[in-house]
């Protein structure tokens, strides 16, 4: 924040001249890089396909409509599987996430130097791998099917739920904990009376939020053979059965809309 004396008046500028020049050069370099990248991408694109894209897309839409409604009778079971994968996966994840979160939170972990890093590692490991990849690994281990899907969803969700939960634990009001401690309560009683009531809203919010995400994730698990509606989707795509594809996409859309509505209702009721 430079202030200079010019003709007796104090002149204030946001930046000094040097800083302003530096920023200007920075922007110039940024724009130059952007233009250069654009050129690279353009050079490696087959523009014929891009120009052709609207026609092809129109063609697919043309073939995909109307959806083949009679195919629905084969979709009830897979969509039910999909919802079950999401729900059971979320439940398992929550059961595993609660202890991990308490071990990871700075104010409840028994040991900052050993246990907390382990808990944080579990969280990062679970979060860093997509559920589709977990599903591929699990199919190799326990074979294809719904169970692999449930486990893939569960493993992927543990980190997400534990991370949000441990952040909620770290943000609790410590004086309430202090007050319960001062009554002579044991460590576990302090947890049940001082901490748990404070994190309940966060816990409920995280659960329905993750369930909502998992409905969407479990619709694609079938692509790799982990059960659910994705199996039908990949089958229809491979046989170019476009009317079936459009019906499946509609069903998925409907399932996601309903899950969003449910989770919004539940969150509204809690907070």
């Amino acid at each position: 924040m430079p202030v200079r004396e010019i003709a007796g008046a104090k002149v204030w500028r946001r930046r000094t001249t040097g800083e302003a020049m530096l920023r200007w050069v920075g922007w110039l370099i940024g724009v130059a890089i952007f233009v250069w990248c654009w050129q690279q991408i353009s050079a490696s694109t087959t523009w014929f396909f891009v120009w052709d894209a609207p026609r092809i897309a129109g063609d697919i839409i043309d073939r995909a409509t109307p959806p083949r409604w009679s195919y629905m009778e084969k979709l009830w079971w897979p969509i039910w599987d999909t919802i079950n994968i999401a729900t059971l996966g979320t439940l398992i994840a929550l059961v595993l996430a609660v202890p991990v979160a308490f071990l990871a939170a700075r104010n409840t972990t028994p040991s900052t130097w050993i246990i907390r890093p382990v808990a944080l590692f579990i969280i990062v490991a679970s979060r860093s791998i997509n559920s589709l990849i977990w599903a591929l690994l699990l199919i190799a281990i326990i074979g294809p099917g719904v169970f692999a899907g449930i486990l893939a969803i569960a493993i992927r969700s543990v980190g997400f739920c534990a991370k949000l939960l441990y952040e909620a634990i770290e943000e609790i009001d410590e004086t309430q904990v202090e007050a319960i401690t001062a009554t002579g309560a044991s460590r576990w009683q302090v947890m049940v009376y001082g901490i748990v009531p404070q994190i309940m809203p966060a816990f409920a919010g995280i659960s329905v939020f993750r369930w909502d995400i998992n409905i969407r994730e479990s619709t694609v698990l079938g692509l790799v053979g982990a059960g659910g509606i994705g199996l039908q989707l990949s089958g229809s795509l491979n046989t170019l059965a476009w009317p079936q594809v459009s019906l499946i996409l509609l069903v998925i859309l409907l399932a996601v809309v309903i899950s969003e509505w449910v989770s919004a209702k539940v969150r509204g009721a809690i907070i």
Binding site: Q176, A179, T183, A185, V192, Y193
Partner: protein, 262 residues
Amino acid sequence: MLRLDKLVKTYRTGDQALKSVEIEVPIGQVVALIGPSGAGKSTLIRCINRLVEPSGGKVWLDDVELTALSSGALRRARRRMGMIFQEYALVERLTVMENVLSGRLGYVGFWRSLLRRFPQKDVDEAFRLLDRVGLLAMADKRADELSGGQRQRVGIARALIQNPALLLVDEPTASLDPKTSRQIMRLICELCAERGLAAIINIHDVALAQMFVQRVIGLKAGEIAFDGPPDALTPEVLTRIYGEEDWQATIKTDETAEEAVA
């Protein structure tokens, strides 16, 4: 009954909050602890029930040396010390009844407390105390639905249901309006008299302290600067505790404020 023997607390930052404090409180005596912010009042109270671990000296409650207790024995000793907080420190999302009963946690096993199956005599006592502090109708309300004064009454009931011998009270009126402040102070002092409890009350409001307590201790920078009856608080003494200021008004408000409330 309570004896602090050369109590020292040095924080990890190097701040000396308490420098060899010696206090003795007999049974049934209500003591006000006054002093400027940062004088170590909160630290002193928390060193007694070891919410803050003292770095030196001893604390005796009757013939128990609190500073030497293992964690299990400390929990049992804490049952005899009720604590009341500035911002009430109720568990906001629990009901009034649960908050009051949480004062019995030191006496009740884990599973019973988890399932909220408190012994009937605890529940009876909770109702009796809620009636005494005038909140019987609120038993089923959630704590965050109450007003400040009501919350502090719940806090008092929670401390008393422990059946303590000593009350540790940290700024009970700092978040309350003047009238409610008086009611709360009066309630605390009445209850202490009824049950023969000793109490240490941290308080900023010197006039309010003078009105209700039998003894005042002034703390300044971790040392005792004054210890005597409330009448002995002269402008000179207040200057010694707080520093230079016109103290006439603070002490004189006594009668004028009484009229204002009436």
